[in-house]
């Protein structure tokens, strides 16, 4: 089963080329039907995202199949296929398996661990299934790739830590407060990034949300979007006393939340921490506030530092994920080998059983007076001989499949026992 994966990705091809090759669903369907219907490929899946355009296939002549597939993809936007040919990478057999696993597990992604790719691979697979372009080989490969991706996600932490500033802020809030549900949030200023961070907090159950902004209309608009309450600028101090998390993003030239203001508020708070997320440049919150007990303040640089640390963490985890994928590839290859030798073993048994039964029948026809005991003995004798003869070749086939060297053995067995062409 000559399996291959070929394509271009963010690793080797510029965005301009990737967007020209990317095909929409209808186009992919059309190409899949051409390729598989026309007999170029026995099975095919086309994965087309903004970061990669890849063809996974099973073909008797993989090189040719690859060329035809990409000629199709190039034709849709009039790209010279020669310009793509040079960039294409091709993985065959074990390499193709590894590639499929790594892509699905988000190890080959631009941002390692990003969650979208698995969904995209699943969609591509479903699309190919819809076109009847998926056969047993790609079916096994992709189902296993999904399982591997799931294992990587749950057993390593490549996807666990925030890699955007707004998510990093939410993650920090989760490490300060026992739970975010019921935490009151104050938005100072109505910047896009603070709105995003507030949205994440609301999704985690933060409530109520107060919005303070110089422009009253904008405060009201944002409050509506977040199901919160707009508060006049003059009442900022009161609002400050009532909340747990403050997100600031005003365009003020100097700090508007001073240490004195916060010190006054902290006294009445008891044990509840107060968390400032200051996304504004210049900063809205005086850096001195984080010397106050129970007050934590992160500005944009601090958050970026957290993001950087998290990315390093992901890369470390990716090493573990790669080892996991490697083990899965080995397992999969062994299973694939078994899948390939089993039909031969079955037909070998059937062939010899056919011969044995025929010969026994012939002999018994010549011995009409044979007692039931004699008949049984004949059956047992012949069955015993067949089993003894079969033992060595079957063991050899299983062993060779585990070693990945079963192809030539399969051919030999077919030839020797006259089993006919294998599928």
């Amino acid at each position: 089963m000559p399996l291959f994966a070929a394509g271009i990705s963010h690793k080797n091809a510029p965005l301009a080329l990737r967007e020209q090759l990317a095909a929409d669903e209808d186009k992919v369907r059309e190409i899949l039907r051409d390729l598989v219907g026309g007999g170029t490929l026995r099975e095919a899946v086309i994965l087309s995202t903004c970061n990669r355009v890849e063809v996974y296939g099973v073909a008797d002549v993989p090189g040719e199949a690859r060329a035809i597939a990409f000629r199709h993809l190039c034709r849709q936007r009039g790209v010279q296929s020669a310009s793509v040919e040079g960039l294409l990478y091709t993985h065959a057999e074990e390499e193709a398996i590894r590639h499929a696993f790594r892509v699905a597990a988000s190890l080959d992604s631009m941002m390692i661990g990003e969650p979208q790719i698995l969904g995209q691979v699943k969609d591509a697979f479903a699309l190919a299934q819809g076109c009847e372009a998926v056969g047993p080989a790609l079916h096994t490969l992709f189902t296993q790739a999904f399982a591997v991706a799931k294992r990587v996600r749950t057993e390593t932490e490549i996807a666990r830590h925030a890699v955007s500033v707004s998510f990093a802020a939410v993650e920090l809030a989760k490490k300060i407060f026992a739970k975010l549900a019921g935490r009151a949030v104050l938005l100072l200023g109505a910047g896009k990034m603070s709105e995003l961070a507030a949205k994440h907090l609301v999704e985690q159950g933060a409530f109520p949300i107060y919005v303070v902004n110089r422009t009253w209309a904008r405060a009201q608009e944002l409050a509506r979007a977040l199901s919160g309450t707009a508060v006049p600028f003059e009442e900022m101090g009161t609002a400050l006393a009532a909340v747990d998390i403050v997100i600031t993003s005003t365009g003020a030239p100097a700090a508007i939340v001073t240490r004195d203001m916060v010190a006054r508020v902290v006294r009445g708070r008891g044990t509840r921490p107060l968390f400032f997320i200051d996304i504004a440049v210049p900063r809205d919150v005086e850096p001195g506030v984080d010397a106050l007990p129970g007050v934590y303040r992160y500005d944009i640089d601090d958050l970026q530092q957290v993001v950087d640390a998290n990315i390093r963490e992901r890369l470390r985890e990716a090493q573990r994920a790669e080892a996991l994928v490697e083990r899965e590839v080995a397992k999969f290859r062994a299973r694939l080998g078994d899948v390939e030798v089993i039909p031969t073993i079955v037909s070998l048994r059937e062939r010899l059983e056919e011969i044995r039964a025929g010969e026994v029948r012939k002999t018994l026809a010549r011995l009409p007076d044979a007692s039931p005991e004699t008949r049984d003995a004949l059956e047992a004798l012949s069955a015993g001989i067949v089993n003894k003869i079969l033992h060595a070749p079957i063991t050899k086939l299983r062993e060779s499949s585990r070693a990945g060297a079963h192809r030539s053995w399969l051919a030999l067995v077919h030839e020797l026992f006259g089993l006919g062409r294998r599928s």
Binding site: E157, K175, F177, T271, P273, P293, Y296, D302, Q305, E313
Partner: protein, 267 residues
């Protein structure tokens, strides 16, 4: 029989400690499962050891301080497993097991003393049992305080490091130290009062030549101060955590004094 089982338990606890610490750094789910397994094996061996011991001496193994400390360890390990299971804080073992190991080693190297003949009154068992539950709660209190300080340090210094993702939120840890303090304190107090009353009737003096009684009073004063500070003064966070550690240090000195210095508590 008892020493063998006790040794198996200690070896298992040492393994569990190593694995729990490795899990803290390595974050392999397998390492964590092995740590849990080692803890459980140790605890079962420990349970059997205590049962055998109780049969051998024909009563609860609380009569000498080394035995009593061994029971504390047993209670702590049980609580650790339950709390870890309930709260899902998989790193708890890394903070509790070292304490467990230190206490088990201490109790096993101390000379087992013969019991003072005056011991025998039912009150004395209640005194010991209450004090032990109190100490067990303070081991967890100590572990919570250490975790709090580590986590708070990382968040305050804006350098989320190795343990940032592993440790529970600050507020949870703060509540944890408060609860374990509030739980341990009444037990310790009642245990101490019973001990004092009993000592007075037996020896005519509350602190007669006993280092353990003296140091346990020091620990009690520290914990009482912390509890008062938390309940009335609004103490929390770092300050409360520091006091939890100081209180526990006093407790360790107390047990050390009881195990290694001559006095009424044996040895």
């Amino acid at each position: 029989m008892h020493p063998h089982l006790q040794n198996i338990a200690i070896i298992a606890y040492v393994c569990a400690m190593g694995l729990a610490l490795a899990h803290l750094v390595q974050r392999q789910a397998l390492v964590h499962r092995l740590a849990l397994l080692a803890t459980l094996v140790g605890w079962i061996a420990h349970t059997l050891a205590l049962v055998v011991l109780a049969i051998e001496i024909g009563g609860p193994p609380l009569g000498t301080l080394p035995h009593a400390v061994s029971v504390v360890v047993w209670v702590v390990v049980l609580l650790e497993m339950l709390v870890e299971r309930q709260s899902g804080v998989t790193v708890l073992g890394a903070f509790v097991m070292p304490v467990v190991v230190v206490l088990s080693l201490r109790s096993s190297v101390a000379r087992p003393a013969t019991l003072a003949p005056v011991l025998g009154n039912a009150w004395i068992w209640i005194h010991i049992a209450l004090a032990l539950v109190g100490i067990a709660a303070f081991v967890l209190n100590f572990a919570g305080a250490i975790m709090y300080l580590l986590q708070e340090r990382q968040i305050r210094h804006k350098r989320p490091g190795r343990f940032y993702h592993r440790l529970p939120p600050l507020q949870t840890l703060d509540r944890w130290t408060y609860r374990t303090l509030a739980l341990g304190f009444p037990f310790l107090t009642t245990g101490l009062i019973l001990g004092a009353v009993w000592a007075r009737t037996a020896w005519g003096s509350v602190f007669a030549f006993d280092p353990l009684a003296f140091f346990s009073l020091v620990a009690w004063v520290i914990y009482a101060g912390t509890l008062a500070g938390r309940a009335a003064g609004g103490w929390h966070g770092r300050r409360a955590a520091y006091f939890a550690i100081i209180g526990f240090a006093a407790l360790v000195v107390t047990l050390g004094a009881g195990l290694f210095l001559p006095g009424r508590h044996g040895a």
